[in-house]
Symmetry: C2
Subunit: 404 residues, 2 copies
Amino acid sequence: MGLIVQKFGGSSVANAERVRNVARIVTDCYRAGNQVVVVVSAQGDTTDDLIAKAAEINTRASKREMDMLLAAGEQISISLLAMAIEAEHCPVVSLLGWQAGFVTNSTYGSARIRRVDTVRVKSALDNNNIVVVAGFQGLNRRNDITTLGRGGSDTSAVALAAALHADRCQIFTDVEGVYTADPRKVPGAVKLKEITYDEMLELATLGAQVLNNRSVEMAKKYNVELEVLSSMKRAPGTVVREVTRMEKMLLRGVTKDANIARISVVGVPDTPGIAFKIFSVLAAKNINVDVILQSIGRKGTKDITFTTDGDNGQTAVEVLKSSIAEVADKTIVCDTNVAKVSVVGAGMETHPGTAAKMFEALYEINVNIQMIATSEIKISVIIDAADADKAVEAIHAKFFPVVE
Amino acid sequence: MGLIVQKFGGSSVANAERVRNVARIVTDCYRAGNQVVVVVSAQGDTTDDLIAKAAEINTRASKREMDMLLAAGEQISISLLAMAIEAEHCPVVSLLGWQAGFVTNSTYGSARIRRVDTVRVKSALDNNNIVVVAGFQGLNRRNDITTLGRGGSDTSAVALAAALHADRCQIFTDVEGVYTADPRKVPGAVKLKEITYDEMLELATLGAQVLNNRSVEMAKKYNVELEVLSSMKRAPGTVVREVTRMEKMLLRGVTKDANIARISVVGVPDTPGIAFKIFSVLAAKNINVDVILQSIGRKGTKDITFTTDGDNGQTAVEVLKSSIAEVADKTIVCDTNVAKVSVVGAGMETHPGTAAKMFEALYEINVNIQMIATSEIKISVIIDAADADKAVEAIHAKFFPVVE
């Protein structure tokens, strides 16, 4: 019994049958004695369909008008879900982003939430209503509709849970929780009961696309307890929260990110400032850099290697060539045929054996490690893309031996 | 040069090509030096599609949620039209009903406009923007979305034109204006240059479905000059306004309404109060009565005959049978095989020859008149449905002889 925020993505409400399914989940939670606030995305392909409609008319439409257009998507899904809840004979009221008090800045298309004025949601809850709120959208100071960008509904749900001091924020998805590896690929993958925010962040960054990063960061900041669970199968999911006792090494998972590019700038002068120049130029172009490695080259030169998103690889090469005199004539190699494989787990820094265990697994299947990067809760290696899947499987088997 | 409100219905913005066409009409008006406010309906079948989506989920959904759902339709059309105007390189801003200041009562599904707060529209106009406003929708005192019901976008346009003191409100449709008869059926039908509000109201009531009645009534009340014209063909339409000099008899048109039922209650006691009972019972059931005729029957009885919408005929009979003791055992005849043919024109009351001329035309083609009703600007006859089309043609030929 408590105040629960439940969030359902577009695929969970894609058609009438699924909307009814969501209505049953919501009303079961309500009938169990909880106050329930539901945050929904637009149905299935609605957003893409609307974008296609716009493109037919103007491929360079203003972002303000795009946001006005796209916000219609959740308006449709909240009212349909409310109708399905009415059909289950529970009192319900649907609210648009602005009605639910989402105040954002004016960055149309990827607005940031400034605050959530919960007066109306609270009053609807006090009147025993289930409250269905449009995710992804808000209102700026000019009283214009804004949208939060991709994955924005997760952020809406967490922000609302934080503002309402909800007991839990349940994120319903098409997976049953967070696994130690991709369960479709690694047979021994295990669903985690619990995970910390930092671990979840690392997993998301590493390509386990269960939760939007912004929403996890916000949940951590406001200490919102998250649960990731399936809208199709009724079963407990994975709870994301701050776990206080952490003496034990807790490996959370093995992930793979195949969409990366490894870029090597070979033989740059070994003088101060060159690394600064390279990475500030990339930052100015909004190219995120992940792993960085610097090695001594021949005759007073050095080689700088880094990884970035696969899509940005070629752009990064061009930017560096055209902007920095010192590298313009140097060899810059871009290799997109690589993957990053990582193990994630809080408490890793106090268990030095983890890295050795991981490397051992790779050695046993004869996989060459190109780069290594470590953080307090993560060890990543860059390897040949062709080796990635078997590497994940081998590492997972090493850390989570199948018991039976 | 002035402030023009332009209204485009759903078929005028049904697809990308038509949205672009509307954008060209709007931007031409703007470039000619006018301030332009555009009111749009939802695209083509959007509203019906949304209603079908709702029916799949809940056939008895609350009206509040239906309004929330349907209002998404205009949100899509205003943003798309704004994008098309952007593509024509004119400054533009789209506004939802509530952003444009439409405050309504809380009768979801057929809300009445209480007032229009034009601050935001005026400020957008002052900044040289074309303003695109969602028709059909508003906001009630609870900050909930409402819709105005069928034809609501016409009403939105007229209300906005009244509140802004616009110089003209142009209603773009799929016809080129108001004709003296249905131009698809009567070859000699002539487009009228000008018509009064009352004439327009009579024409609309009589089945010439060019303009929504509520919007004409509102235009009359606030003295908004209307123009009905085509969105497909660039040509002047019909202007609706108060014409002051009216010495001359001005016949405006001949119309036909085939969707009526004639109901006769035969042999009721000739006592006071019986007519009152009949028509108050019908009013309580929201059954509108049009023409009423009372005649003396046999032996201290009378017959009461009236017409109503064709759809209501059978209901009317049942209501009367079950509610009024005096008529329960009487013969009640419902005939839907009738039509009403009318001539409309201001100044008719000072030209008694009009009725004679009309009846002469019917006599010449051997059409029997069942009932007659007259108002200051209209003469209607109820005749056999099978005679209706040739009656319209004959009357039209009598009043508008083809010149060539």
